[in-house]
């Protein structure tokens, strides 16, 4: 509860500071302080000390997994602000408002992670989505950005409508909005209402996490939005929607896996295929990362597919690994002059440290051992193998992971083995230090994932 409250309040604080403080660069400082306060609030949440100690008639549930997940998200936000705060200020004239919108999104993420009522899920998703439409079009003079924002808004609104419809059908079938009171059992007579309800909710959530075949908005939006905000959307927001997805399917529909598992398996396979194969053909790193984020979503879908204890561990670790790597890469990408892969040619000679960190991030995305990405993939695949069914899907997934190596390594090759003169904006030593911290965290989680997972299992 602390996190939801504080982030909403801090968003308002940010907005008003914009009115009274003329200096643009104070925004980053206030935002970083805000992220720290959020972290503190979340830690109090975890230890059970809340400002308003109520679950609102069971509409929220403070389970450890959700709260721990929020810790990861808030930490990612902190890194994001520290690394990219300056770039956010440079997007346009309304730097305070950008930060404010992101705090509102955090509030929505809190709801999505802790909901126990379908309406809360709906409200949470909406709070996450609407500020994103604005952020996508934040660079007003950029036509591509405007187009992306409009596209995103129209498609997003449509999918939200589908979700609401699905919730209504589900309510009609079960008579409850409460996830833990849906009481679905595999032997039920499946009324058409229930089927339509589940399918519609599945579709809309798949849209939000950009799973194929509902992914078409992703490349355009990620490519059109200002690069710093793409980083935010592709990492923090995407991971956060997944936890809502998992919570609903685990706690609400976990008893009827047989009815929907095949659909999720097909969505997973399609997502992996389309994301990976299309990413191979991209010349722009930014667009490649957009498709790669679809591909990564395919791996995260395994957690939803499996809905068992390994899913939770897998998704938690995946969120951490994926957010760290994505934020790290985008922080560097923002500083690059040329977003094509050739733009990275010879970076290792000019900026050996930055090149090394970017390499670690890409290795992590590819899932090479000794990086967090390996264990992230390991746990989601293990979750799927544990179900004992659909092994073809797992084998298909690892083949697709091999494809992903192809396009991730192209950037590494450009940096290390190709001659070139990649141009990059000046970077401070603080920025480099933070990047190194990201790389160290990735490797630390790659050697000892139980540093994070123990919190889930033991406490």
């Amino acid at each position: 509860m602390n996190l939801i409250l504080i982030s909403a309040l801090w968003g308002i604080v940010m907005m008003f500071s914009g009115l009274f403080i003329a200096n643009k660069s104070t925004a980053k400082t206030i935002a970083v302080v805000g992220a720290l306060v959020l972290l503190a609030g979340n830690l109090f949440d975890l230890s059970g000390k809340m400002i308003i100690d109520s679950n609102f008639n069971g509409m929220l549930q403070y389970d450890k997994f959700g709260l721990l997940f929020l810790t990861v998200i808030v930490l990612a936000l902190l890194f994001y602000f520290l690394l990219s705060g300056k770039a956010i200020q440079e997007v346009g004239n309304h730097s305070y408002e950008y930060f404010a919108l992101m705090f509102f999104i955090m509030s929505g993420i809190g709801l999505v992670a802790l909901f126990n009522n379908l309406l809360i899920l709906f409200i949470g998703i909406e709070i996450v989505s609407i500020p994103l439409y604005i952020l996508t079009g934040a660079d007003k003079k950029n036509l591509k950005g405007n187009e992306a924002a409009l596209k995103y808004f129209l498609m997003g609104a449509f999918s939200t409508g589908i979700m609401l419809m699905g919730i209504a059908f589900l309510y009609g079938a079960t008579g409850s909005f409460q996830v833990d009171k849906l009481n679905l059992t595999a032997n039920d007579n499946f009324t058409i209402f229930l089927v339509i309800g589940v399918v519609m909710i599945m579709i809309s959530l798949a849209f939000k996490v950009s799973a194929a075949p509902f992914h078409f908005w992703t490349p355009d939006v990620y490519d059109g939005a200002p690069t710093v905000f793409t980083s935010f959307m592709a990492s923090i927001v995407k991971a956060a929607v997944f936890i809502g997805f998992l919570n609903l399917f685990m706690n609400g529909f976990g008893t009827i896996t047989g009815k929907w598992q095949l659909s999720i398996a097909i969505i997973t396979a399609l997502t992996l295929f389309i994301g990976n194969i299309t990413a191979v053909y991209q010349q722009s790193v930014k667009r490649m990362l957009a498709y790669s984020s679809i591909a990564q979503a395919g791996f995260m879908m395994f957690a939803i597919f499996a809905v068992n204890d390994m899913s939770k561990q897998g998704l938690l670790l995946y969120a951490a690994a994926y957010c760290l790597a994505t934020i790290g890469i985008f922080a560097v990408l923002v500083k690059m002059k040329d977003f094509t892969i050739e733009g990275f040619n010879g970076l290792a000679k000019k900026e050996p440290l930055i090149a090394l960190v970017v390499t670690v991030c890409f290795l992590s995305l590819a899932g090479i051992p000794l990086t967090a990405g390996f264990f992230a993939k390991y746990f989601v695949l293990a979750a799927a193998i544990k179900t004992g069914t659909y092994l073809w899907l797992v084998i298909f997934a690892v083949l697709m992971a091999a494809v992903s190596v192809y396009y991730y390594f192209r950037v590494i090759q450009a940096m290390y083995f190709k001659e070139g003169n990649s141009e990059m904006a000046e970077t401070s030593s603080g920025f480099k230090g933070l990047l190194v911290a990201v790389a160290v965290l990735i490797i630390l989680l790659g050697v000892a994932p139980n540093l994070l997972l123990n919190w889930l299992i033991l406490y």
């Binding site: 000794l370 695949l381 544990k386 797992v394 091999a402 997972l453 299992i457």
Partner: protein, 479 residues
């Protein structure tokens, strides 16, 4: 303790090497690290070959049934020995080669050593997978950065091939993990899993493809000649003397004990592919003009024989294959050293451009002839012991495999002797007229190899004693 030190020394040494910018200093440092590993291994093998030193277990991921467990036994000890012997020789014989950014080069070389030793030692499924992939990453950077003209594409192909293989193995490994009684990755628990024949059959292939790519067995070999050709020779030595042994070793330690029924079911397929590969590679070796490609193809032929012999399910074949692990490592190292010396001096590896080197560099020529004869497995050389036993095993399994495989021996004599003739004898030409003799440390490296060839050829008993443990274990499993 020995087991742990073997990984730690090159690991720490490798990371330190990155910070030594001075070229001479980093070379000396790497050589010192390599000798330190050799010293630790020799001490462990000669004076402290007991359970305390052979086994190391530390907690890693207790909730997920994986621990940092190392085990040095039988064939694993032999391959560790090969690794620590090879590294000083590699560093000494390439002492004169110049590399840009030598600190990174030597750092990555030592990290590779740590990874390879990790593969040979790991006694935990997940840890094994970890090292299996880790050994590949520094090699990827070594080949891509310091290799020949086509290095980037070639190395990438190599990387993707092996990566696909290992990922398939990962799926199999996780599946196997869920079948264990105590949810553990430890080698013992994995060995004890009871699988149906169908399960064994497809798990066998998930694992075998990973190993077959690494060895490489026909038809998974297409990455190999290009990669050997394009890599800097020091890396080629690591690849062909040590890394290919990872695949063969994995068959012995993991594949056959885990899926004996699968191995019996597909023995004809594997042996058939291997034998076809032997003849095919030998024929191709005869066509080559480039020395590196010649050695690369000849290596495929030798590896094919070893992989065939591992599946014949009799003592002779097993023993021969394991001894050959070591002999092949030593011999191919000798071949590469010669290639490296020739390329450095004359700037070409083409046999058609060389000739008459023996007149000015008799020491080099003599040493090469010995290495070459070992490559043909002449009696008194180490390779004879292994090849004889392997063919004996193959003969017992099925006479036709032995007959067809035997062709490759004849062919190997053809291309090896032709190489000696073209490169060392005949008339001098413009390229080779200014030949100079090799210097003392290059001589020493080669003498060490020649000595190893003869000692093992005449008195192979210590090696037999070392691998017998593994041979007995595997034959026991088949019964």
């Amino acid at each position: 303790m020995t087991a742990l030190l073997l990984i730690l020394i090159p690991l720490i040494g490798g990371f330190t090497a990155f910070f030594i910018k001075e070229e001479k200093l980093v070379k000396m440092w790497s050589l010192a690290v390599a000798f330190a590993s050799l010293a630790v291994m020799s001490y462990g093998l000669l004076f402290a070959y007991n359970l305390d030193n052979k086994v190391f277990v530390a907690e890693w991921l207790p909730q997920f049934g994986s621990s940092f467990a190392l085990l040095m036994d039988g064939v694993s000890s032999l391959l560790c020995l090969l690794t620590v012997v090879a590294y000083p020789i590699i560093f000494a014989s390439t002492w004169k080669s110049k590399y840009t950014a030598p600190n990174s080069f030597y750092g990555l070389m030592l990290l590779t050593q740590a990874g390879i030793l990790g593969v040979f030692l790991a006694a935990d499924g997940l840890l094994f997978y970890f090292f299996w992939e880790l050994a590949l990453i520094p090699v990827y950077f070594l080949c891509s950065k310091w290799g020949g003209e086509k290095r980037i594409a070639v190395t990438f192909k190599f990387f993707i091939y092996t990566f696909v293989g290992s990922l398939l193995m990962l799926v199999g490994l996780i599946y196997l993990y869920y079948q264990t009684a105590d949810a553990s990755f430890s080698m013992q628990s994995l060995y004890e899993v009871k699988l149906t024949v169908t399960q064994q059959a497809w798990l066998f292939w998930l694992f075998f493809i990973a190993f077959a790519v690494k060895m490489p067995v026909f038809p998974f070999h297409t990455w190999q000649p290009d990669t050997y050709e394009q890599s800097p020779t020091a890396v080629t030595m690591v690849l062909s003397a040590l890394m290919v042994k990872m695949g063969l070793f994995a068959v012995v330690r993991w594949l056959i004990p885990l899926f004996p029924a699968g191995a019996l079911m597909f023995d004809n397929v594997v042996i058939g592919l291997s034998v076809v590969g032997m003849v095919y590679a030998s024929v191709l070796a005869m066509q080559q003009d480039d020395l590196k490609r010649l050695v690369a193809y000849s290596s495929i032929a030798h590896i094919g024989l070893m992989s065939a012999a591992l599946f014949v399910n009799n003592e002779s074949g097993m023993q021969g294959a394991m001894i050959q692990f070591f002999s092949h490592g030593v011999n191919v190292l000798g071949m590469w050293i010669v290639v490296e010396l020739i390329e450095r001096q004359f700037g070409t590896r083409k046999m058609s451009e060389l000739g008459g080197i023996a007149q000015k560099a008799p020491a080099l020529a003599i040493l090469l002839v010995v290495v070459a004869l070992a490559n043909v497995a002449l009696p008194l050389t180490n390779a004879f012991v292994g090849e004889f036993l392997m063919f004996n095993g193959l003969f017992k399994f099925n006479i036709w495999y032995a007959a067809v495989g035997g062709l490759s021996i004849i062919l190997s004599a053809v291309y090896t002797l032709r190489m000696i003739q073209k490169v060392f004898f005949g008339n001098e030409n413009a390229v080779t007229v200014n030949t100079t003799e090799i210097n003392w440390y290059e001589k020493t490296s080669l003498v060490v190899i020649v000595a190893a060839i003869f000692i093992m050829g005449i008195y192979p008993k210590p090696v037999f004693a070392l691998v017998q443990e593994t041979v007995t274990m595997i034959l026991g499993i088949f019964k």
